[in-house]
Symmetry: C2
Subunit: 651 residues, 2 copies
């Protein structure tokens, strides 16, 4: 097996830390004390967590997956079924960050047909101005260099002989820049909900895009004429990749040929359902910890998403049994969500957040997403004593810090945690739209051993139970580790007296962003009479408010305090991400309201709104663009100051 | 003295009722019970409220007013001073609902000057298209018919011989359709804050407007030629009010004359400050009850706003003494705000809500506004045993119900409470922008005795201590009643174990709005294939969720429950108005996010967004306008359903 390392991403630097976990309160019980006094001061029970970990069963997960976890979830979860119409916007387009291996064939002089006549240029609908370089159609494939470590034969190198994708494998994907149902922004897509006219949809590609296998791509690419493409564009095929601008090579059989692109995309209104399950909290039922994954897939989807669903089912089985046996009831409520229509743009989860916006905003402690619950998830938490599969003693934490670490000013070398700055899975609406602290658990491989992105069969027809059980996790012990880790996190979020969030870690992130912003933007802003100093002040204020709150937590003997004081501190931690929401910061970007974690085109580890606006202003030089940069700076300052106010003195 | 009746307005139907106040919990104390158990179950103390009422002193209020309450407030409040730059947008325009008595003199053929050359038509800046009927300037006055019961001589009929306004009195006012600092929408106006270009300001009149006294108006109006204006336009002057379209009467000395309008309006950036005072809560310091009034005035402003400020100072004096003597500490925190720059568009309070948006949204229980704390405030609360001045036994409640009542399906005849659907004073940002349940206490006169709107000297130079103490409230006993009532409400909001809000009353309001909407819009919507049924369903769901919550409150023996359960119910009540916020419902209307209480042009007692969109759609017939009507309906349904979710089962 390959060595794999973990990539965990948090929606916030509010990381779970062991240091601030509080012990049980030293309240003596007397006959006249109300019953509830014991309950409200109850902390997380480590023995129950160990019990959970012991009961998670690898074979149960395997059988979940074998018997089609997705459909089972509808029966297995303690269910509430909520249905709505789904607009499946099937402009299937694959988006990859490996843009240099995407094969742009310019069809400008060519012909192409479309079963619906939809893309005919005679309509003027998809004019040259809508796509760069006059491109009127895109064929997209994944190069063996990127996903197969160069392997491209199916005689012995690829599946079923290894985990590598066979030449005919086609990786699908969705390419919308907006997420959620495109017809009903900000409104849950019920039968009677107002829908915008289809022509007003934004965020989808203006030209047709067709994914193909590398088998077909090879045939076309190696025949292309024109200048050689730059070295970063070259891949694993045994030929030089040319631009092909003027067409195929004069020596090619295809010389003077056109490529005909038959498009079978279509638009449909489809129903989809989220399946919900709930364990009601005993002490704070109005505080929610949400755990979710999607249920739909491209083709079979054994790994994406059913590995995650199999794990979720096992977590609910073990927790459900503990509840039924009367051994455990979480302090806070736990909500399980099996989302529909993720692959078409995170639709199920997004519609859910639109429908329950107020309730979820007011009460959600955190959202945990476990989509591709692939092997060897090494979690970042020191207290996670879950063992790494295939090792007798290495903890998830130790493995994580070994393969994927960073140096923190406060803690030294620690496991690295990414940020949820994009919209890659169902966490998007929770963190970007509702400002709920979110965590996405996924993994990557040890980069010294493979260049495989995610896993070779990702989003292809080869993502099957056979593939998963033979090449990804035989015996399903790694899935077991994922279930143990996710359940462990879930139980701590649900049961800890004080929420295991650390706001000083948030301050560290803001300081990192600030330093980068000052390095990149101070001079350029100053040249336009915009001072970055108030941003420094804001971050400094945030840091000292966070430090004071940490100090208050350390100094408090909560046993002598009211449960309302614990609740107050928990609310400060729970609502911290909410304070960074601004619905007018990015008015044209559906669902992006979080001014720290919003995605950015600037590609810099700093504040996204400022980065994008600054980049644009320097490129256009327009006064209005500099004004927008100033506006973004003010929005950011106000958000950070506002967040600092929520952490600071209570009044 | 005139008989006066009370007009109280709540931002919500969450009215304070005695019925749901809970008694003290019957928890026996034992030596082993933590100290805080007693504190967290403590309810409002009626004896302390009586003590407060007894200590409120009419002479103290009088002396506050005599010695310039506005400036004193800066010293007297237990202060935090927060300052910011204020953009005073001095396009002074008076807005009156008595539009038919506003004197529109068409200057189209005339000439006018402007000290800054600002309104010169040669700039094309204020073209005819910007104001209806080609009006290029407006003179505005208040007719003696409307404010003086027809009295218009200053020889014996008007001040200083009575409370009526003398002929030279000029009523000022501000006329912006947006509130808050116009240069910094959604951003607190700090020194470095981004400001929009002045030319991008919206919501101010496109033509110059000048208020004049009725003395000058008389001279002009009675000389006007043209057709007689309709009877509703006629006023108290002893002449026929003509349209004046072609100019003055041929027989007039003014014949062939123009009216020259000298404009001294100017734009300035000015500093203004809010003055804040705080009493920190003992048990729930992170819950805020806010009490505010503005400090700035047109001219002297003895009544508007200083009567309110004098009352606030007296409330703080009495409460502050109780705190210092160790007799009382509120359960929740109380914040007093003395706002700046209200008269220019509610600027001080609005900038405050922008700066502390997150903190206030998360924690505010209610906002109480007492601006013009004029005599004889009869409050709506049965438990308000405050006596009406000049009566030995009549309570504020009894007087209110006598002069201003309505019939409720649930309660029969009760005091009438208006809704805060406009932006008339500093409550606007609290209710419309933050969704904080708000209450504005003001009064109106017995309409059988006077037509005086507010009071005759309102917004004129005659609003002085002499005027107030001679004609409005000699002895200041009515001010005393206002202080007692406001303090009473404040203490109940701050101290009640369970918040004195009734969500079923909110349901009653929604049902009233629904009935009106069905009556007016069902057929027209159906003709465009839009069903109003889902709105009925949503209101029905809201009603049953509210009823279940009320039942839960009645059935609960909170003494046996955790304080976290009380907090949960309080949060449901506190956050109910928040659930009606939608930042994308009215994107072009700054600060209006509450889909139930937003102001409306339709003039119907129903849902504002739907009413306005429907009215527009029927008038234009445009497909896009019917789509907007459908969108508004969907927004409304989602908000009401979302609010119902927050009242319903906790999970
Ligand atoms: Ca939607
Ligand atoms: Ca502002
Ligand atoms: Zn997935
Ligand atoms: Zn996927
Ligand atoms: Zn006022
Ligand atoms: Zn005023």
């Amino acid at each position: 097996m390959l060595k794999k390392v973990l990539l965990g991403s948090l929606g916030a630097a509010l990381v779970l830390t062991a240091g601030i976990l509080l012990g049980h309160f030293a309240i003596q019980k007397g006959s006249t004390t109300p019953d509830w006094v014991m309950d409200v001061t109850q902390d997380v029970n480590e023995a129950l967590i160990q019990k959970f970990i012991a009961e998670v069963d690898n074979i149960a997960i395997q059988e979940n997956l074998r018997s089609d976890a997705g459909y089972q979830s509808i029966n297995l979860l303690n269910q509430i079924r909520r249905c709505w119409k789904l607009y499946q916007c099937l402009y299937i387009s694959f988006f990859s960050s490996l843009i240099f291996h995407i094969f742009f064939y310019l069809l400008k002089q060519g012909k192409y047909s479309d079963s619906q006549g939809k893309y005919s240029d005679s309509q003027g609908k998809y004019s040259d101005s809508q796509a760069p370089y006059g491109v009127i159609g895109v064929l997209v494939y994944t190069d063996p260099w990127d996903i197969n470590d160069g392997k491209m034969s199916d005689t012995n190198e690829t599946y079923p002989y290894s985990w590598y994708m066979p030449p005919s494998g086609v990786e699908r994907g969705s390419f919308n820049t907006h997420y959620g149902d495109l017809l009903t922004p900000y409104l849950a897509a019920k039968d009677d909900t107002y829908r915008i006219p289809a022509k007003n949809i934004t965020g989808i590609p203006p030209i047709p895009t067709q994914p193909i296998g590398f088998e077909d791509a090879y045939t076309l690419i190696c025949e292309l004429g024109g200048e050689p493409a730059p070295s970063e564009w070259q891949g694993a095929f045994n030929c030089t990749y040319n631009f092909g601008g003027p067409g195929f090579k004069p020596t090619s059989n295809f010389n003077n040929s056109d490529v005909k692109l038959d498009i079978y995309n279509r638009e449909e209104l489809k129903n989809s359902a989220n399946v919900m399950g709930v364990i009601q909290g005993s002490v704070e039922p109005d505080r929610y910890v949400i755990y979710g994954n999607h249920r739909d897939s491209w083709v079979h989807g054994a790994i994406d998403p059913s590995s995650g669903t199999s794990v979720m089912l096992e977590v609910t089985r073990v927790l459900g049994r503990m509840v039924k046996q009367g051994k455990w009831r979480p302090r806070r409520s736990i909500i399980f969500g099996s989302w529909g229509a993720e692959e078409f743009g995170l639709i199920g989860s997004t519609e859910y957040t639109e429908e329950y916006y107020s309730k979820l905003s007011e009460r959600s402690v955190a959202y945990i997403n476990v989509d591709i619950a692939k092997p060897s998830l090494w979690c970042l938490f020191a207290f996670l004593k879950v063992k790494t599969p295939g090792s007798d003693s290495t903890s998830v934490y130790d493995n994580w810090i070994r393969y994927f670490n960073r140096t923190s000013p406060a803690y030294g070398v620690i496991p690295n945690v990414g940020f949820l700055t994009g919209a890659g899975s169902d966490y998007a609406a929770f963190i970007h739209f509702l400002g709920i602290t979110s965590m996405d658990i996924s993994y990557t491989y040890d980069r010294t051993k493979t260049r495989a992105r995610i896993y070779p069969a990702y989003h292809t027809a080869y993502d099957t139970f056979d593939y998963a059980s033979k090449f990804i996790d035989p015996g399903f012990t790694s899935h077991q580790t994922v279930a143990r880790t996710a359940g462990n996190v879930l139980m701590r979020l649900a049961d800890s007296l004080l929420l295991p969030f650390n706001c000083s870690d948030y301050a560290e992130t803001l300081e990192g962003y600030l330093n980068k912003a000052m390095e990149l933007y101070t001079d350029g802003l100053a040249a336009h009479m915009i001072s970055i100093e108030p941003l420094q002040t804001a971050v400094r204020n945030f840091r000292s408010a966070a430090a004071r709150l940490d100090q208050l937590i350390r100094d408090s003997n909560l046993a002598d305090e009211t449960p309302l004081k614990v609740r107050r501190i928990n609310d400060q931690l729970m609502l911290l991400d909410r304070a960074f929401l601004d619905p007018v910061a990015f008015p044209d970007r559906y669902g992006f309201r979080h001014v720290i974690w919003a995605s950015s085109k600037a590609g810099q580890p700093t504040f996204p709104g400022l980065a994008d606006a600054y980049t644009r202003a320097t490129s256009t030089g327009l006064d209005s663009d500099w004004k927008e940069a100033h506006r973004q700076l003010s929005i950011l300052i106000q958000a950070i100051q506002g967040a600092a106010h929520t952490l600071g003195d209570v009044i």
